[in-house]
């Protein structure tokens, strides 16, 4: 079975002035449907960079990202945007909701990407009920018309999860989704993500610093010096946990 998402020999370097600073130096990673993978690594190790590359928000300096075995580097900007919309859901540490929109509108935004105005207009009722159902599923049935500023951190992250999943992507990329939440709230958000992941058979890549959380995943990959070492849950190497902050 081919992985939903594959990274092959990805390198990424940033130009700071005249110097090239390598962040990723050849990363290989496979992500299968129904698989939960934890991505651990010190701050500044390049976890977010890798996530952006996998989610097609950025292009690698070298190497390939493949969806269903098809390389994506030759796709146009618009095609990449469409692929991202169809295949990937992002959840960020700082929620990244649009402050002018209500919870429901933020979620519905994810339904308005690949369709024209008229296309959306024809399916607006269905889209809306899907959005409401999604928000109900994340436990925000009572908060549909609240603006982000009127929601707590946990509620905001739930809205972000609902938005990431409304377009029914096959890959969920979460970048320290609980990093900004207290442990109790974090617990709820994690359980929610895991349950939806299981239900939808998602390929789930979770960036976290939390070893215990990582241990609940199927697989742990660690980032160090721009490369990753895969491992199964349980064989936690002591120096890695010491490096993580």
């Amino acid at each position: 079975m081919t992985a939903v998402l594959q990274a092959r020999a990805i390198t990424k370097s940033y130009a700071i002035g005249k110097r090239e600073i390598p962040v990723l130096r050849g990363v290989d990673l496979d992500l299968h449907a129904g698989e939960k993978v934890a991505l651990l690594g010190a701050s500044g190790a390049g976890k977010s960079t890798l996530l952006h590359l996998l989610g097609l928000l950025d292009r690698p300096t070298a190497g390939e990202v493949r969806y269903d075995g098809r390389p994506v580097q030759d796709l146009s900007v618009a095609e990449r945007a469409l692929l991202r919309h169809r295949q990937v859901g992002f959840v960020f540490q700082f929620y990244h909701l649009i402050p002018e929109l209500t919870a429901l509108q933020n979620v519905l935004l994810a339904r308005m990407m690949g369709t024209t105005v008229f296309g959306y207009w024809r399916q607006r009722r269905r889209a809306r009920s899907a959005g409401v159902a999604m928000l109900e599923q994340v436990g925000l049935g009572e908060r549909l018309h609240h603006r982000p500023a009127e929601l707590s951190g946990g509620e905001r992250q739930r809205v972000a999860i609902a938005r990431a999943l409304l377009a029914e992507p096959r890959v969920l990329l979460a970048d320290e989704p609980t990093g900004n939440l207290d442990s109790e709230t974090a617990q709820g958000v994690v359980e929610l993500m895991f349950s939806i992941q299981r239900e939808r058979d998602l390929a789930f890549l979770l960036v976290t610093h939390d070893e215990q959380l990582a241990a609940r995943c199927d697989r742990i990959v660690r980032m160090k010096d721009g490369t990753i070492q895969g491992s199964r849950p349980g064989d936690v190497q002591p120096e890695d946990s010491a490096q993580a902050d």
């Binding site: 928000l57 950025d58 900007v77 945007a81 990244h96 002018e100 690949g114 105005v117 377009a167």
Partner: protein, 497 residues
């Protein structure tokens, strides 16, 4: 293809960001100003054009040699199938002074030669006409109605001064007043007169003055004598003086107003025969010619501009053939060409003002640019978010382009509405301001322009032009921030603090 999120986000941004009201107001104000100010200006211009047109014959044969005879010209001009009528005209500068023996020794009204105002210094353009012929060229009735109407506007009360209509064509031709009117005028002026008015036969040729001159001479009555002085180079001076002055007594026969202020101030209409005699033409001379400086021409109605041009060329050629072969070329001018200087000045001012309004429009476009630019900067994070959810760069750019467009469309709509409403209510509002300020304040001093109300011509084509221009300008200007947003790197945008 516009993705659905673009109009959705554009609309939400517009509703939630107060600053955009500024852009809408800016566009609305610019459009309003463009419509109303230009509407009023166009109104003035149209009125001026109408007045100038009313004061001018449709076509005028001019630039003729100074000894031109009317009759041969009339024959060739009226032979043209497109000419309905012609009328002879003789222009001569002169002095017009009210004659009043009582004022002898005191300062007569015509002595103020240093006055800038022609109606005071007595200077006049004498226009010799044949009333019966002239009537067929210009709207003489409107001229005669216009005089009292204009004076009434300035608070003077005058009876309607119709042209002296006499049964005798000879008297009509001389614009003579009634016997009794002249008799009374003689009595008032202390001039010799029969005891019984029935015995009197009027002899003075009549003169019609422009209403501003009559307005100055506020005691003048119909029949009152005026002294008219001309000085001319006679055609045949036979050893006499080269420059020959000649004065003649006229009866004040009425007043006129064409609405063309300069014409009304300057012109005195006199019988053409009398003026010819004053210039030394005598019917009893062997080489008498019906002297004219111009010939007024009425062409057939409904000629297309091209036909009219062709007619002008034809008439000019025909007239030139009649004139002596070595004389300078004559011209046939339409009413615009007769008044090029004034009309060009007015049109020039009109375009200047449109440029000023255009600048107002540019400023409002700049407001849109500034608000959108600010919005892009403030919404950098949103740009990253939308990209992460799957928004294409083109769609993201469209959000900002659409915001600018909606601002422009709303502003234009409001501006057009306000413009049309205030054009409709301009005069009532002006009245109201005039009333509540106790007559001290007025939007437009109507009296200054000889107008009954503020003219406002709002051409639908102008509304369409302004609207299209405003929207186009706003969209063009919105394009810059929109492109900036579209080109923003999603990761940079997401991590922007």
């Amino acid at each position: 293809m516009t993705p659905a999120f673009a109009p959705f986000l554009a609309w939400r941004y517009l509703l939630t960001r107060r600053i955009n009201i500024l852009g809408v107001c800016g566009v609305a104000f610019a459009v309003w100003a463009m419509l109303v100010v230009d509407g009023v200006f166009s109104g003035f211009v149209t009125d001026i054009h109408e007045d100038v047109r009313r004061s001018s014959p449709p076509l005028l044969l001019t630039d003729l040699p100074h000894d031109t005879d009317y009759e041969p010209l009339r024959k060739v001009l009226e032979a043209d199938r497109d000419v309905i009528a012609t009328a002879p005209r003789l222009r001569q500068h002169g002095m017009v002074m009210p004659f009043s023996p009582r004022d002898r020794g005191r300062r007569p009204a015509g002595s103020e030669q240093l006055e800038f105002d022609h109606t005071r210094n007595g200077f006049a353009l004498l226009l010799g006409i044949d009333p019966d012929r002239e009537r067929r060229i210009v709207d003489f009735g409107a001229w005669l109605d216009g005089g009292p109407a204009a004076i009434a506007r300035y608070g003077g009360i005058r009876p309607r001064a119709t042209a002296p209509v006499q049964d005798d064509p000879e008297r009509r031709r001389r614009l003579q007043v009634d016997d009794e009117q002249e008799w009374r005028a003689r009595r008032r002026a202390g001039l010799p007169a029969e005891d019984d008015p029935a015995d009197h036969r009027s002899i003075w040729p009549g003169m019609l003055l422009g209403w501003p001159r009559v307005f100055r001479l506020d005691w003048v009555q119909k029949g009152d004598p005026f002294e008219v002085l001309v000085a001319a180079f006679p055609r045949h001076h036979a050893g006499g003086p080269l420059l020959r002055p000649c004065s003649e007594r006229f009866a004040f026969a009425g007043w006129f107003g064409t609405g063309h202020r300069m014409f009304d101030e300057l012109t005195a209409l006199v019988p053409i025969d009398t003026l010819r005699q004053m210039l030394g033409e005598s019917e009893f001379d062997e080489d008498y010619v019906e002297l004219v400086t111009d010939v007024a021409i009425r062409p057939r109605d409904g000629l297309s501009p091209a036909d009219l041009r062709a007619l002008q060329r034809r008439l000019r050629a025909a007239a030139q053939a009649v004139l002596s072969p070595d004389c300078a070329p004559c011209s046939v001018l339409d009413w615009r060409q007769q008044n090029t200087t004034l009309l060009a000045a007015v049109d020039q001012e009109h375009s200047l003002m449109q440029i000023v309004l255009f600048v107002v429009m540019l400023v409002s476009a700049f407001v849109i640019y500034a608000t959108l630019h600010m919005m892009v900067v403030q919404k950098i994070k949103d740009i990253g978010i939308v990209a992460a959810v799957g928004g294409s760069p083109r769609g993201i750019g469209t959000v900002f382009l659409l915001t600018g467009t909606i601002i422009a469309v709303l502003g234009t709509g409001l501006g057009v509405l306000a413009g049309v409403l205030s054009a409709m209510w301009l005069n009532p509002i002006n009245e109201w301001i005039y009333r509540i300020s106790g007559g001290r304040l007025e939007l437009f001093p109507r009296a200054l322009f000889d107008l009954q109300g503020i003219p406002c011509h709002l051409e639908p084509s102008w509304i369409v032009t302004v609207s299209a221009f405003a929207i186009l300008l706003a969209v063009t200007v919105a394009f810059v921030p929109a492109r900036r947003a579209a080109r923003m790197h999603p990761v940079t945008a997401l991590s922007f603090e």
